[in-house]
């Protein structure tokens, strides 16, 4: 089976890994956003939702393991590609013409991804770890909304989500191009769908810190 390993480590194979894990993460984001939006329903609705998740904990744990490995593959592979791609041009150009032939979304995919990763680590510590390893029964609605009262946390959350939107706007259409699904009939639609998806994610996630910071969830 060494051909499978070699294929996945070829230039096209590494792109495929990025695309498959990327699509999986985009699906996860939809579910994550749906959960987050329950915050708008108030304390009772959100805490009931968290309780519901507690009931299916073994299932959630299994999903978390899969999700974590997908994240690791995406981040590891992305970083490796970035390093290798830098090595493909040891000496850069004195004049950078990339503004004339590429979009800001595609040029900055690694940088936006890196900032989202930094946020992810903080986010896991402040919310996920608290939710899962505090031992005692917690009022998670209050914990979450209190975090959003912290200006730097809300600001970081908002910036990370905005850059995530940049990342997704590139990633969505890029994944389909990598799969080879670039067709005259469907690809313009895929590109638009990617932008709509990125906008929904940015506005959906981004509205939460803004709302709870300025209105305190009251």
């Amino acid at each position: 089976m060494s051909w499978v390993w070699k294929s996945l480590n070829s230039s096209i194979g590494k792109k495929l890994v990025m695309a498959i894990t990327g699509v999986a993460l985009m699906l996860f984001l939809i579910i994550h956003l749906a959960g987050n939006l329950i915050l708008y329903g108030g304390k009772e609705a959100f805490n009931n939702y968290v309780e519901l998740l507690e009931l299916i904990k073994p299932f959630i744990r299994a999903i978390e393991v899969i999700l974590a490995s997908i994240f690791i593959f995406h981040i590891f592979n992305g970083t490796r590609l970035w390093i290798e791609n830098k090595q493909a041009r040891p000496q850069g150009y004195s004049i950078n013409g990339s503004r004339k032939n590429t979009t800001v979304f595609s040029r900055t995919a690694f940088i936006t991804g890196s900032i989202v990763f930094i946020f992810l680590v903080i986010h896991l510590q402040t919310i996920w770890y608290k939710f899962n390893f505090s031992g005692t029964e917690l009022d998670l609605y209050t914990i979450t909304t209190e975090w959003f009262q912290v200006w730097w946390y809300s600001a970081l959350y908002f910036i990370a989500v905005l850059l995530l939107g940049f990342h997704l706007n590139h990633g969505f259409q890029s994944a389909f191009q990598t799969f080879g699904w670039n067709h005259k009939k469907y690809f313009p639609f895929i590109e638009k769908l990617g932008t709509v998806y990125a906008l929904i994610m940015t506005i959906g996630f981004g509205s939460i810190p803004v709302y709870f910071f300025f209105f305190g969830g009251k």
Binding site: S2, S11, R89, I95, N96, S98, S106, Q177, F187
Partner: protein, 255 residues
């Protein structure tokens, strides 16, 4: 009455040998707007030679945009600021009085600089040798219309076959990836019946050699398509990806 000329400052990359460090040299020129970019460089070289100075090394051949020999990075853009043309087709009327123009060679690990603006693009020839061919029986001339090919398929293959192998896609890509070039070559054969016998072996071999030369991977920024003098579409990269996946699933190669 002397013809109108524009004054330009050129900063041109000068590098003695592959190993020696290079730097920009400045040249002030007054050039006719009707002159082509390469004619302007010829004029500079004539002046340099008159002064017994080393002329600027750059490549060109047909000077009508079909051979793919010329290729300079002009103000950060391969083949200059005008889309769909090669460097030889770029005219000085596209620049303004007083402009400063930076001229650099293609920069990629797989394209080592030989001298000044000349780079070694033989990595692309090695990729072609790995699979950029079809097998044809010799002896008598084959019947021209023996294999019917739908017009739209033939056109698509010809669109891919427009690639002149100049390497601008590699130069434009932030990853110095050769995927547009390789995908155009894979596509032109994969689309046609004549390319079917080696179809899967071709894409596997060409991608393998491409990777060995240290070209980067594609991150779908599409700078290649924007800078390609022939407008070769990134749809070809999507097609190469499909061909590659199918080759990996179907070919007998377990290496």
């Amino acid at each position: 009455m002397s013809p109108r000329k524009i004054n330009l400052t050129l900063k041109i990359w000068r590098q003695r040998s592959p190993q020696s460090p290079g730097k920009f040299a400045e040249y002030k020129v007054a050039v006719s707007p009707d002159s082509s970019f390469l004619e302007m460089l010829d004029d500079i070289n004539n002046d340099l030679e008159k002064k017994s100075l080393e002329p600027i090394t750059f490549e060109s051949d047909c000077r009508e945009g079909i051979c793919g020999t010329c290729g300079l990075v002009i103000n950060g853009q391969p083949h200059g600021p005008i889309p769909r043309i090669a460097t030889c087709q770029l005219h000085m009327r596209n620049f303004k009085e007083g402009d400063t123009i930076y001229v650099e060679p293609y920069r990629a690990k797989a394209f080592p600089i030989i001298k000044d603006l000349m780079v070694d693009r033989s990595a692309m020839d090695r990729i072609m040798e790995a699979g950029g061919f079809i097998s044809v029986n010799t002896l008598s001339v084959p019947d021209g219309n023996a294999i019917p090919i739908p017009k739209d398929i033939a056109s698509e293959a010809m669109d891919a076959a427009q690639c002149i192998g100049c390497g601008a896609c590699v130069a434009a890509c932030k990853n110095a990836s050769a995927m547009l070039f390789v995908s155009a070559k894979v596509s032109q054969f994969a689309l046609l019946p004549q390319g079917q016998p080696e179809r899967y072996q071709r894409v596997e071999s060409m991608v393998k050699v491409m990777d060995e030369y240290g070209f980067g991977s594609c991150s779908n920024t599409y700078a290649c398509e924007a800078e390609c003098p022939k407008g070769v579409s990134v749809k070809n990269i999507a097609r190469m990806n499909r061909e590659y996946f199918m080759a990996k699933i179907k070919s007998q190669n377990i290496e």
